[in-house]
Amino acid sequence: MCIRRDIFWITGLTLICLLVFVANGFSDSGNTDTRLRQYRAVRPLGMAEAFAAIADDGDAFYYNPAGLANIRKLRIDLQPIKLIPTQDFYDEMRDLEQLIDDIEAINESEEPLEDPNLEDERRRLIDRMERLSQDNLGLDAAAPARIIVPLHVGDYSLAIGGIIHGWSESQVYIRRRGLKWADFVKDILDDEVVYNIMAETSYGGAAAIEVPIQPLPLELSFGLSARRIYRWQMDDEDDPLGIEDLISPDGKDGIEGTADDFTERYFDPEDPWDSVLKGKGYSMDIGTIASFDDIFSLAVVLQNLVGKIEYEEEEDEEIPQNLGISAALNLAKLATPDIPTLDIILAAGLDKNDETWDTDEFIDKTRLGLEIIWSLPSIALSGRIGSNHGYLTLGTGVQLFFLDLDYAFFADQGTNWHAFSLNLAF
């Protein structure tokens, strides 16, 4: 049976455009940037994480487990370095010492607000706070290790894999409250410092199968991944830390040792570990990919189909579900004949999160990405660009033998991120 390749690019492009235009029609640019405690990989970040229909490497564990079935040979990934700091984090780290010195000097004083010798420190701290009030300090760090074992039974491809990783995500920012004063000192008096510091280790497995649908040039893949999660978390989202709590550590009553003390409500600066929430949990993703002649693919992924973290001293937390629909089209495969050294992948995706299920929001996020890969026997170069719900993403990568180095710039509603990773793939 002969099906013209034109049908794929016309169908693919139509579907991708439909995804984007339908999403733009229904989405609200003011929506929140919900992160599902998801692992983020640098290559997908460069293309706005429109990756679920591509999912052709170890990152498929988290983006779409069905993609594991596309991996044709044994693969071991070790990623000793993956850092995703925000631009602000990078800027602030450059003169951190001065800030620490100033805070220490102020903390050591019995009259931190009145001591005339601390005027310079207070002034510098306020200048710094003014800068920080525009900043969003975030750092995402991870060290995953993965193994994927492909199996072939007749026309069927199977893959099983295991993953273990540790990662942390920390974000601190100042949230404005109250009147907008011209004078920053007055403006900040009622602001809040929001912090969310989380570290996680997990281990898990995944399985995927690819089934050819004869006589069509169509392959269907199904995948499932599950993981056990250990999480440590410290945040003040339920009771945000006000500037007044910082300057009045004994609380409004001014009496040390009462319930409104800083150490009772937040953490003991000398022993913050004591206030860390410790939880255990699990999560499971399922996904599918329909691939037409390796040119066009369509994917549906349900992340955190089931997912929960049980804390020792707090209420259990359901991990929000996320439904993603994605499409990808490899434009380079449309050339006649095929260009084996080149891939030009256009991808788009839509996300719907169950936290906004009951709202009028039809789509939470639209993703659009383009990746160009030029592959030679021992080296591959790639460039990426994308639109993360209207925010720019860029990426580049070099693959040299077993070394894989990637960089991505990623903007979202909250801030701009820079991501770096070094991956050893065998």
Binding site: G178, D190, L334, L346
Partner: protein, 284 residues
């Protein structure tokens, strides 16, 4: 030889590029310039206007660093800066705007008890200052061309007497030369008597009248909107609210208020000594 169908590849690329171009944006700090919780658009706008009007009146109530919260006296201007009619007219407008701000944020505080009281405390402090400045300004601009009221500024005073009030030697001489105490108010011009009545109302909500019934004027010109309150009330309210924010700041403000109370006493003693009745309303 490999043949690439450019038409087929260029078209999708063009469409894709167009979509990207129309959808791009980076996170920008301006994205956050919205009304913050615990405030309203009306409150922010009114505050902006109040601050602009104060600045145009030559008054800058600015904190360079948080330690200045403990020293509100550093915000006191030189009385020379208050002694002009243009500034005095603006104080009424500032009070009007600050009252709008206060009403708005008090509503927000009622709706959301997690809102901080710092804005409410600061607006009350501002209102206290503006009522005080208006009061001083009215006295100082009432005595042209001769100088009757003398307000001295001592920013480095160690006894907290940053402002000291007196009347001129010529006025003292006039008062001394007046035989009947009921005629003492006549040592002042009608405009000066009006300034005394208004200043006491602005400072203390006091009702001041010449004892002699035939001496005019007898009524305050600041007993109508926007003048719905008075300096002492706002200063005391600011201290009380800062007590909920940081007790140290309340203590510093209470000390400051004591020195303002001395000014108030000077005005009361002066008015009573110059042939006026000085009556505090029953709610005081």
């Amino acid at each position: 030889m490999m043949k690439i169908n450019y038409k087929r590849n260029i078209l999708p690329m063009l469409i894709f590029s167009s979509i990207l171009l129309f959808s791009f944006g980076c996170y920008d700090e301006d994205d956050d310039l919205v009304i913050a919780p615990c405030s309203t658009l009306e409150a922010d706008n009114a505050l902006k206007q109040a601050e602009a009007k104060l600045e145009s009146a030559g008054i800058i109530l600015s904190f360079d660093e948080p330690g200045q919260l403990m020293h509100p006296e550093d915000l006191l201007p030189d009385p020379i800066d208050l002694a002009n009619a243009e500034s005095q007219k603006k104080f009424g407008e500032v009070i009007e705007q600050l009252n709008i701000v206060l009403a708005e944020i008090e509503q927000e505080l009622q709706a959301d008890t997690s809102c901080s009281v710092s804005d409410q405390a600061l607006i009350n402090l501002y209102l206290g200052f503006v009522y005080l400045f208006d009061s001083i300004s009215r006295l100082l601009i009432s005595d042209d061309p001769a100088e009757t009221f003398i307000v001295e500024f001592n920013p480095d005073a160690t006894d907290n007497k940053w402002y000291t009030f007196d009347v001129s030697a010529a006025t003292h001489a006039k008062l001394d030369a007046t035989e009947d105490p009921l005629d003492y108010p006549l040592a002042f011009t009608a405009k000066e008597r009006q300034a005394i009545i208004d200043a006491a109302d602005l400072m203390d909500d006091a009702i001041v009248k010449p004892i002699a019934p035939e001496i005019q004027p007898r009524l305050s010109t600041v007993d109508q909107p926007p003048y719905s309150s008075y300096a002492m009330w706002h200063f005391e309210k600011a201290a009380e609210l800062f007590g909920d924010y940081k007790p140290d700041v309340r203590d510093a403000l209470e000390e400051f208020n004591e020195s303002i109370e001395e000014l108030r006493e000077w005005l009361q003693d002066g008015a009573e000594g110059w042939g006026f009745t000085y009556t505090l309303p029953p709610w005081r």
